[in-house]
Amino acid sequence: MNSYRKGLKDGLPIGFGYFAVAFSLGIVAANAGLTPFQGFLTSAVMNASAGENAAFIAIRESVPYLEMALITVVSNIRYVLMSFALSQKINPESKLIHRLILGYFLTDEFFALAISQDPYCDPFYSYGAISFASPCWAIGTALGIIMGNILPERIVSALSVALFGMFLAIIIPAAKKSRPITILIIISFISSYVLTRFSGLSVSVITIILTIVVSSLGAILFPTERKS
């Protein structure tokens, strides 16, 4: 099970990053009145950072259940795009069960790992990463609720860039090989900065809009000539 072990290793930084983010998310959950077990359960079934943050705030505000469903759709809509993209990275021959499991654990980070493989994503590579990092997420949330502000702020600050380091490790090597990807990354950085600072839109809405607009731009300006 070589690919499982490789996945496990590549999942280590994700797990550490998850732990830090989930820990701070736990503080939000505590404010919404969740018990450590409820926080653990939420993270175990949701596997979503922005989505859970929005959900905890909604719980605090006692929104109706239907509104909760809408908030969940909006704050996680980018996973629809990722799911589409990932559908092309899974061998059409592979069993349906792999798609059902990988869908459950489809996060930004596991997605990044999955698409970095060529030509198809090996499900067991993803399972390796998931089996360490996913429990970190759920346990981190519960501990965040229990321990609140015990961890020094300096450590939280340093750990919080772990996820972005992982993103860079995915996009920069791709940019090195492809000029269109380099240009799209620069456009994404600039437009994301402008919208975040000046539009007043939420991060998840900005992510949705720019993903659609900039990726469409890329498909129009830089059509690839890949053979099927």
Partner: protein, 101 residues
């Protein structure tokens, strides 16, 4: 009115699972349309870029430490040092800079 947290969690869980798994299971064959193929090819890089910046400089106590992590992390990634090293370089950069300043 105080709603039941477990019902909230159930609503969230079902909704988010449908969002994630429907495209993945419905579309099992390679997509032929060249525009959609190219669009989906670029989606991950764009999404990850959008989520990285400016979030990386907003997540640290000192924005300059986040910027330094972005630059050093990008350099390390350019040298293809791999996930773990790049991540550690980013974290250590922030830790050291915020310790000094």
């Amino acid at each position: 009115m105080k709603n039941n947290i477990y019902i909230y969690i159930a609503v969230m869980a079902v909704t988010v699972y449908l969002i994630r798994v429907l495209p993945l299971t419905i579309i099992r064959k390679p997509i032929r349309n060249p525009f959609i193929r190219d669009f989906l090819y670029y989606v991950p890089y764009v999404t990850l870029s959008v989520m990285t910046f400016p979030a990386i400089i907003d997540s640290t106590n000192n924005p300059l430490a986040g910027l330094a992590a972005l630059l050093l992390g990008s350099y390390a990634a350019y040298k293809e040092m791999g996930l773990f090293k790049v991540t550690v370089i980013c974290c250590v950069t922030v830790l050291i800079l915020e310790f000094i300043f």
